[in-house]
Amino acid sequence: MIRVQTEDFDVGAELKALARNGNVGAIVTFTGIVREFSGNHQLSAMTLEHYPGMTERQLAEIEAEARRRWPLDNSLIIHRHGRLEPGENIVLVITTSSHREAAFEAASFLMDWLKTKAPFWKLEDSAKGGGTWVAAKASDDTAADRWAASAKPARKVAG
């Protein structure tokens, strides 16, 4: 499931609401949060712009790809947009599986692909005033690329 929203989310509530079958042995969550500092600059807030329509389409494709690659029982991606202050939630990924390795790798994959494919852009408001568009990071491309080579499921590690 995917959701794109301005409202905050509650990880505990999402975990409780998530359907899971009796053979789920592993649940991984990733929460991304606005940091107080960007490099040396203290942030007062950031604004996340996105491309309505394409965002939902990309997130759905990324989720489908994760479910092709790993034996997931369920998955959830929530991504916020609009104005967010330091400490606020930006993104949530949850994966459930029989196997911990699948849950870990799929969650990591979802974040890496989301970072490089989902059409969101961060505008940082400096505490001193003025806004700066965040530049894409080469390290994010590198992280995403490590999944490109192998379309096969990773080594399985039980429960």
Binding site: M111, K117, F120, L123
Partner: protein, 83 residues
């Protein structure tokens, strides 16, 4: 053809989107980018470094060789930075 712009590309072009009618010789993403750049002013400035421009046609990523036509929605934006 509908064009939409995001992030600093939107700011540099000076609008979020517009309807354009490029000449019939413009049939690919690459051709569209060259034609837009040829409009000068904000367009030339916004598109001066094409390595920093990503393109989606009808909400799917597209390369410079991708075909485009009058009914398409073409989006221009910088590399994404969500997550």
């Amino acid at each position: 053809m509908k064009l939409v712009y995001f992030a600093w590309l939107r700011e540099r072009v000076g609008k979020a989107g517009e309807q354009v009618s490029p000449p019939p010789t413009v049939t690919t993403v690459g051709g569209l980018l060259e034609w837009l750049r040829g409009q000068g002013g904000n367009y030339a400035e916004a598109l001066k470094d094409l390595s920093a421009v990503r393109v989606a046609v009808n909400q799917e990523y597209a390369g410079h060789e991708a075909k485009i036509g009058p009914g398409d929605e073409v989006a221009l934006f910088p590399p994404v930075t969500g997550g």
